[in-house]
């Protein structure tokens, strides 16, 4: 520890900290632009100049390490003069367009200028102009003259997002922040550059000229689009969500937000929003009153329960429904007498259900990921499925952690990967068991019989430090998910590490806690669709996009006598449903998400529901009343939550332990195998309707990716249209080459309208020339 003095205040601080860090910790503010606690030090804005005793010139506080007995003055005559001078220089070329600048009112330069600048400028010559740039649909670089060249955006790209898409080109007075040859910024974290930009040079494109910062009211909320439970500030005006910003939460999202969470709100006011209950009568959709629609639904359910039997009714919900909604849905189903309820729509292997000891979760707090020494990530499109978790692992890797990958595709994770094993999906179990075998040999001093790749991973995992095995979405959706889980457990045990699932959606843990899973007699999501029911209750579900096997799902929906779709949007359900009930998305309802680390987080609605849409928990509650099921008299969502979590010790329930699973690999299937990811902007209904997100490169129409040798074998050129078929369905999409894919594999995205005619996300698939 070191003793220093700032403005006469004695401060004890750790060796190696900088003056600005020590000052901020002591509550003394030092003006700054380029300094950011999460980024490297550039010291190029010179705003943080302070006077240091015995130093001949003012020193930049952000780049000056503390030394014993140092005396710093942040407001002495010399410091103030320096700050004032820097401020004047910064304003020399900064346009005076604050009145039309979207940053106006929340601008660091504006604030600092008031606090530290002079009253008027002495510069009367022409200011320099920098041309605007088009860097994609999310970030606007329309007014680059405002840039003060702090390079925060450049450093963010290179250090946090992992790819340097922005840079400072040219020199001196001609220096400009730009992309390489007018390219777009494609990072899935690009929106953070907007927050980082201390001036109005990089602003939000969808938010451009929508409102001034002082007009917006802020509401705390929780991210509904991935499983991290990111803290959000939803900003609204006139009952419209106009912007979403991160709230700093060091344990979860630090100070970042993924583009998906930031820009998904644009889907909330989509023209496709369902605003009135609708009933299909004689093949025609009619808008009706809530009472009529609910009674129609209740009567339909009662009729089928009394006639064909309650087990002919199935309920499906997506994992981004709230805990309250999932709890009431399962309560309703069990009240009718059916155990058929599930929220794991993209899962295909349910054999672990009765062997699971608790609720599958991340296996550790999110913050612990930063402290890992070695991690094995199995079956995860990490960057696209969990952008912020990927950023956390990227930071860990930078600090020396080793990332090991076992997967069926080899996308660039923008971090150093120590070892990777890329195999076809049906070889995933074998690859993992090789690692287990190698670890066993490593530990017990046996001769290594496993493959070299597996041995390398085993060596990395047996480093003796903090080790974890993480199973991604792909591993959870895999047809041998239970075996993968058992192997991960084995590997974690052998390496004294932890293992867990990176939850797929906002409530992947909450669904289990709400009991929205079939009991022993009920049917799970897959069997509910494989053996069609007479009636379905859908919560947030778009059958052809949210399920593991769209073909089967649509067939089941079409053969059903009654489909009650609770949805915020008027979607494809119009072709198979009988009742459409408009429900409120997460900004319009209160609710609770349980994040993948088991954190229970409740949030309130930010705006009133659009039109006649109502929170789904209220709809389910009234349905319960109409069906005369007891226990449906909660008045608030908090009451529902308290009931759902009554006597539940969430922390104690979380467990990934699984018992008695045969981990012998099954023999490989013949032919081409499908590998499918759910593209980052196709994961849920709101995201799918966000226009700016759909305009990004990541939301491009899916292609059929094959190894170029496979393409040659098929006689197909890159870019040519191919017919991809599975079961009875086929789609025509463009072929693309990816030589990092294993042979015998076709990568075709799921969850997208262009591929919804296909079947299961895994399994054999045929590709032929169109």
């Amino acid at each position: 520890m070191i003793n220093i003095e700032i403005d006469g205040k004695r401060i004890e601080t750790e060796n190696g900290t900088t003056v600005i860090e020590a000052a901020h910790k002591a509550g003394i503010s030092i003006p700054h632009f380029c300094y950011h606690k999460k980024l490297s030090i550039a010291a190029n804005c010179r705003m943080c100049l302070v006077q240091v005793e015995k130093a001949p010139k003012p020193l930049p506080a952000c780049a000056t390490p503390v030394t014993e007995g140092m005396k710093v003055f942040t407001a002495s005559e010399q410091a103030v003069k320096a700050q004032k001078g820097v401020m004047e220089f910064l304003l020399v070329n900064h346009p005076l367009d604050c009145p039309i600048c979207d940053q106006g009112g929340e601008c660091m330069l504006q604030d600092m200028s008031v606090g530290y600048g002079g009253g008027a400028s002495r510069y009367h010559e022409e200011k320099r102009t920098v041309l605007s740039k088009d860097i994609g649909p999310l970030v606007s670089a329309e007014e680059m003259s405002r840039c003060i060249n702090c390079t925060r955006c450049v450093r963010f790209g290179a250090e946090i997002a992992g790819q340097m898409e922005m840079g400072q080109a040219f020199r001196g007075e001609h220096a400009e922040i730009m992309t390489f040859v007018s390219g777009t910024v494609n990072s899935e974290l690009s929106g953070n550059m907007i927050d980082l930009c201390p001036v109005g040079a990089l602003t939000s494109k969808p938010f451009r000229y929508k409102a001034r910062s002082w007009e917006l009211s802020r509401r705390r909320s929780i991210s509904a689009h991935d499983s991290l439970g990111t803290s959000l500030a939803v900003q609204t005006k006139n009952n419209h969500v106009l912007r979403v910003l991160p709230i700093e939460n060091e344990d979860i999202n630090e100070c970042w937000l993924s583009d998906k969470d930031r820009f998904a709100y644009e889907g909330l006011n989509s023209a496709e929003r369902l605003t009135k209950p609708m009933i299909k009568q004689d093949g025609k959709w009619q808008e009706v009153e809530w009472q009529v629609a609910l009674e129609y639904a209740a009567n339909g359910l009662r009729h089928i329960a009394n006639g064909a039997g309650a087990e002919q009714i199935g309920a499906l919900a997506t994992a981004n429904s709230t805990l309250e909604e999932l709890y009431l849905l399962q309560k309703l189903m069990r009240g009718i007498g059916s155990d058929n309820v599930d929220f794991r729509l993209r899962q295909s292997d349910f054999s672990a259900d009765d062997k699971q000891q608790g609720t599958p979760w991340l296996g550790m707090p999110i913050a612990d990921i930063s402290r890992l020494d070695s991690v094995l990530i199995v079956g995860s499109f990490l960057r696209k499925d969990h952008p912020l978790l990927a950023a956390r692992i990227r930071q860990a890797v930078k600090k020396g952690a080793q990332a090991n990958i076992i997967h069926s595709v080899d996308d660039d994770l923008l971090m150093k990967v120590a070892n990777k094993t890329i195999v076809a999906p049906d070889a995933l179990v074998a690859a993992l068991s090789q690692v287990a075998q190698a670890l066993d040999a490593e530990k017990n001093g046996k001769a290594q019989t496993a493959s070299a790749g597996a041995v390398a991973i085993a060596k990395s995992l047996s480093c003796g430090g903090c080790v974890a095995v993480l199973l991604g979405n792909f591993a959870q959706q895999h047809p041998q998910a239970a075996q993968l889980q058992a192997l991960a457990q084995q590997i974690a045990a052998l390496s004294n590490g932890k293992f867990g699932f990176i939850g797929e959606a906002a409530n992947s843990v909450g669904g289990y806690l709400a009991h929205a899973t079939p009991g022993t007699k009920g049917l799970n999501a897959a069997s509910m669709l494989a053996t069609p029911r007479k009636a379905y209750v859908l919560l947030n579900v778009e059958a052809e996009l949210d399920t593991a096997n769209p073909q089967q799902a649509i067939a089941a929906m079409q053969s059903a006598d009654l489909v009650i779709a609770m949805s915020a949007y008027k979607h494809h359900a119009t072709s198979y449903a009988d009742v459409l009930l408009p429900i409120a998305p997460f900004t319009e309802t209160s609710g609770t998400f349980v994040s993948t680390e088991g954190r229970v987080q409740s949030f309130k609605g930010a705006v009133k529901p659009l039109g006649e849409a109502r929170p789904a928990w209220k709809v389910l509650r009234v349905l319960g009343n109409l069906l005369k099921i007891s226990g449906f008299d909660q008045d608030t969502s908090e009451a529902v939550r308290d009931e759902a979590l009554k006597g539940v010790d969430v922390a104690a329930k979380l467990s990934n332990t699984i018992s008695a699973i045969d981990t012998n690999a099954v023999s490989a299937a013949g032919g081409l195998q499908r590998v499918s990811d759910v593209p980052i902007y196709a994961t849920d209904a709101v995201v799918r309707r966000s226009a700016p997100l759909q305009a990004t490169v990541d939301a491009a129409t899916p292609q059929a990716w094959l190894h170029s040798e496979e393409l040659k074998k098929l006689g197909v050129q890159v870019g040519a249209t191919v017919k991809v078929s599975q079961g009875q369905g086929s789609v025509s999409i463009a072929a693309a080459a990816d030589d990092k894919l294993p042979r015998g594999v076709v990568r075709v995205a799921a969850g997208h309208a262009a591929t919804a005619a296909l079947g299961a996300m895994f399994g054999t698939i045929t590709v032929e020339r169109a």
Partner: protein
Amino acid sequence: MLSDQIQANIERELKKYPADQRQSAVMAALRFVQDEKGWIAPEDMADIAAYIGMPQMAVFEVATFYHMYKLKPMGEYTLTVCTNLSCQLSGVNETLLHLKNKLGIGLGEITADGKFGLREGECMGACVDAPMFTINNKKLCGRLTGEKIDQILAELSAGGQGGKQ
């Protein structure tokens, strides 16, 4: 694609630096490309980025930072005329005027036959010889007079080796 010669040159350059500091060779790599092609196109920068293993934008930053990298074709012989103080005092304006009239081009332009390009440069650190220009950043020509310029241009037109790449 980078030619075999350039790749060989870069490889030789890379040996001068530690294995984890490959980006140190970027300036040399850009020079090799410029020497071979006369200028550096964005595609070349992308190729260098891929070869050395650094972000494309980082290569672009370096290429745009230094004035001597030519980001557009500047003719077979690029004449960079110093316009700083010493040369100004020694009459570089007349030199420039003479060059412009002789070649029929302005600053930043190239002759129709692609032979000569004219650009402005900063002090070359040899003010004793002012006024001056360089040919392709390689050869310094000082104490310029009208006759001397005519002579140099004639030599170059005739295929002289004055700073030939």
